[in-house]
Symmetry: C2
């Protein structure tokens, strides 16, 4: 099991967090992101989208952090993190699209601008971030977890870029339910942190 | 089974296509999109993101076209459209993230700009579209379907906004493998079209 990894990437961190929760052993291979290693031929052969993370297990190579979470949860997590039944499965999957789209183009984009100097419309990214956070805040007002009353990969997929929001100028002051949810995630046994998490 | 639907939406069309392939009966409730019905309280109570489609079945309400595809495939499609095993499941899921993010912010955004007058950076959307199409073209060069050697929800999720690209100024002239793949999808028994599909 190999994770092609960048310590500062929230999408890589999702996978490290899932691996920690599942108690798995995984080799981390650091990608020289600033040096552009993810754009070189060897990396593009694994993932033509030239994005991290990439994950290998038993001859399978996967791109996309959401797909990797699904793989790990299904293969090593039983029913705990991702149910097999249609109802629960689809409820969780709604949030993986939120992570892949709304949060990627919201707090993640704002952080890419502020932390890594990406050429991104940061005002638009922050507006999108707060729109999505307002919806999640309201959703979490009477819930401990995003779906199913327990931690699932929905929470893992959405957690990093929300919790790292302050690195893109997206503060969580107005979102008490989200802040409580973040604390609950941090209290899951075997939780591991990453740089930038308060 | 109810689909809150907009005929011109590629994300709604994905669901109509899946329903047709599965031979299901589903009531279509047209949303008055231009009149802003999706932003009214009754709709926001079903989906706080105020996006179509929304889908109801047996007391379950789902948002997000990718999650709805997953639900329908798992509940009514056996192993045909979405495998349960981790390897195949994750391979398919990679493309649902591509649909939810790259294609949404590529050809979909370009079409929203051209067809519906959305305030979107259309040059950026078209550049993203062609970057994603180039990757998919190369991926399909030696394949009939995106994954697993058969049609899956990966194909259904990615098909609409690629096939509708011309409505956002994203022509498919340079992508012969994609054009062949589109023809294969159109030849699946029970295929249904939507306005704008050539």
């Amino acid at each position: 099991m190999v994770l092609y990894d960048l310590e500062l990437s929230g999408n890589c961190y999702k996978i490290r967090l899932m691996i920690a929760f599942l108690g798995l052993d995984c080799e981390l291979k650091a990608i020289d992101f600033l040096g552009g290693e993810h754009k070189e031929d060897a990396f593009a052969a694994m993932n033509p989208f030239c994005e991290i993370p990439v994950f290998e297990d038993e001859g399978l190579t996967l791109r996309d952090s959401q797909a990797i979470l699904i793989y790990l949860a299904r293969k090593y997590g039983g029913e705990a993190w991702l149910p097999t039944m249609p109802d629960g499965l689809a409820r969780v999957m709604q949030w993986l699209s939120t992570a892949s789209n709304d949060l990627a183009r919201g707090p993640n984009d704002a952080r890419l601008h502020d932390l890594f100097g990406y050429d991104i419309n940061v005002d638009l990214a922050r507006r999108k971030a707060h729109l999505t956070l307002s919806i999640i805040e309201n959703h979490l007002k009477d819930k401990e977890w995003l779906e199913l009353g327990r931690p699932t990969i929905a929470d893992i997929a959405c957690f990093p870029y929300i919790a790292l929001g302050h690195e893109g100028g997206v503060a969580l002051d107005g979102y008490p339910a989200i802040r409580s949810w973040i604390e609950r995630i941090k209290n899951i046994p075997s939780f591991v942190a990453m740089p930038g998490l308060a």
